[in-house]
């Protein structure tokens, strides 16, 4: 579904992503693991066009994404749940979800998706009229994921969805990611919580200072000595 080839990203003089290539096959959950500053977010932001890569190619369903505007990329079926949730604080919960469906005109299906989001996150339905800025961190994360789903993406990318959440809430988010994937959505996940992310994913890449240093099935990587030392704290 998504193929990244030789991606290079620079911020000024800093070489943040160094020739990264990766594949996200249809219907799978793929995870990028790595320390802060390893370039994970930069890869996601390049895919969705918020960052302009210096070189490389990003193909989604065979179409080149590099050079296209973010709004066009999102319309074509890729969406990103940004790091730090970034819900519209002054909007109500419903308005946030409607913003997610901004480019769509299929009213009937929007309603269906809204119902689906509410069934995934019943808390959002309870707070439908509340301003998003007043929600708790966990609820805001639910809203950010729900809002992304409202664009009816084929590929859902999530940047640190469990960041800053209590373990129980984080577990809830991981469970939902599994459910979303079971519904046929492909997921590309960036996570600090490597253990949980590796368990969940079909395939994973380990990044260090902008390079992929290791890749493999999630379950295999969990057994890898280096991964255990560096990311699982053993």
């Amino acid at each position: 579904m998504l193929e990244v080839e030789g991606l290079n990203v620079y911020y000024g003089g800093i070489h943040a992503v160094k020739g990264v290539s990766l594949k996200v096959p249809d219907g799978k959950i793929i995870t990028l693991v790595g320390a802060n500053g390893a370039g994970k977010s930069s890869i996601l932001r390049s895919i969705v066009g918020l960052v302009k890569p210096k070189s490389g190619s990003i193909k989604f369903k065979g179409t080149e994404l590099v050079g296209r505007l973010t709004n066009k990329i999102v319309e074509s079926g890729v969406v990103l749940v940004p790091e730090g949730r970034r819900v519209f604080a002054d909007f109500t919960v419903l308005e946030n979800l409607k913003a997610g469906a901004y480019s769509r005109t299929d009213k009937q299906k929007i309603e269906e998706d809204l119902e689906w989001v509410f069934s995934l996150f019943p808390r959002l339905k309870e707070r439908i009229k509340q301003r998003a800025g007043l929600l708790s961190g966990g609820e805001q994360q639910m809203l950010a994921v729900g809002r992304a789903l409202m664009s009816r993406p084929d590929l859902l990318m999530m940047d640190e969805p469990s960041l800053g959440l209590a373990p129980q809430l984080a577990e809830g988010i991981f469970r939902i990611i599994g459910e979303i994937n079971a519904k046929g959505k492909t997921v590309l996940l960036v996570e600090q919580n490597a253990k949980r992310a590796l368990e969940l994913s079909d395939y994973a890449y380990v990044l260090e200072t902008g390079r992929i240093v290791l890749e493999g099935l999630g379950t295999d990587l969990m057994k890898d000595e280096r991964v255990r030392k560096a990311y699982l704290g053993e």
Partner: protein, 297 residues
């Protein structure tokens, strides 16, 4: 002061305030989205009045046609200014865009001097606006009513657009976070252009109504009302549309009523807005409805 006289001043203050509000909304919307004080906005106001003058006096169009033409062309001018002078600088430091805005302001002002000459020209208005209505013992010029009614309708229509339609949703999303708005598949360039269409149209209406109220046009006519409308936007909380409306009305009322109560101050009439600006900046710099800067977690 008799009650009748007070009501007369009140109507006058509200109508002047409505004009400030119409212009202030344009400042505040552009600031809300681009964090830019659009110094050319006062010149856009002037352009609206001049284009109506051209339509009526030179092209001999009917009143309505001339005003509609003026509003449409002024909106186009606003979009052109954004495309040429602001859009190329969107990723530049904010001070660069500000300087560009000041340059556009001087450019437009001098263009109007070159095209129309520096001398004031009288602005023909529909005869209905020469009349004064008597309500009991209160005398109110028809133009005062027209200004209040037109402004009220426009402000309500704008609120509807902002809070009930998709383009409004896009504008509000953009004013809170550009990148996240892009992730909602919102077309940033289109939405910014639409913001300039709305702001410039309201300024054009303000300019036309101003020229009907004080029936003449000159290339510098937008200077003082533009500055005062900017003060009104700051007063209400810049970036906030309701705030701009409230700020405009307060400023108009303060100006008219203070002079009415203390006629000796009438020479300082124009200073009131700037005293108000200093006071609000000392007391509550974010304005009446402005929010304290939110700290991102």
């Amino acid at each position: 002061m008799t009650l009748a006289l007070f009501l007369q001043h009140l109507a006058n203050g509200i109508s002047l305030g409505s004009l400030y509000a119409l212009v202030a909304i344009g400042y505040t919307m552009v600031y809300g989205i681009l964090r830019l004080i659009n110094f050319a906005h006062g010149n856009i106001f002037t352009a609206g009045a001049y284009l109506a003058f051209v339509g009526v006096a030179l092209l001999q169009l009917s009143w309505g046609a001339a005003y509609v033409m003026a509003i449409v062309l002024t909106a186009a001018l606003g979009v052109l200014v954004e495309r040429v002078a602001y859009k190329p600088l969107r990723d530049a430091p904010r001070i660069s865009v500000l300087i560009s805005a000041i340059a556009v302001s001087f450019l437009l002002e001098n263009l109007m001097v070159i095209i129309f000459g520096g001398r004031p020209k009288s602005f023909f208005r529909p005869p209905v606006f020469d009349q004064v209505m008597d309500i009991g013992s209160v005398k109110v010029p028809t133009v005062t009513f027209a200004i209040i009614a037109a402004s009220a309708v426009l402000v309500i229509a704008l609120s509807y657009m902002l809070y009930r339609t998709k383009p409004g949703l896009a504008m509000r999303a953009l004013s809170s976070d550009f990148d996240t708005a892009r992730l909602m598949a919102i077309d940033v360039d289109k939405t910014v252009a639409l913001t300039f269409v709305v702001g410039s149209s309201l300024a054009a209406v303000g300019g036309i109504l101003w020229a009907i109220k004080f029936p003449q046009v000159n290339p510098f006519m937008g200077g003082l009302p533009g500055l005062k409308a900017f003060v009104a936007a700051v007063l209400g909380g810049i970036g906030n549309v309701q705030g701009a409306t409230i700020g405009g009305l307060m400023l108009g009322l303060a100006e008219v009523l203070l002079v009415a109560v203390f006629p000796a101050f009438s020479g300082y009439r124009d200073a009131i807005a700037f005293v108000a600006l200093i006071l609000i900046l000392l007391w509550k710099p974010t304005g009446i409805l402005g929010q304290e800067g939110r700290v991102k977690v």
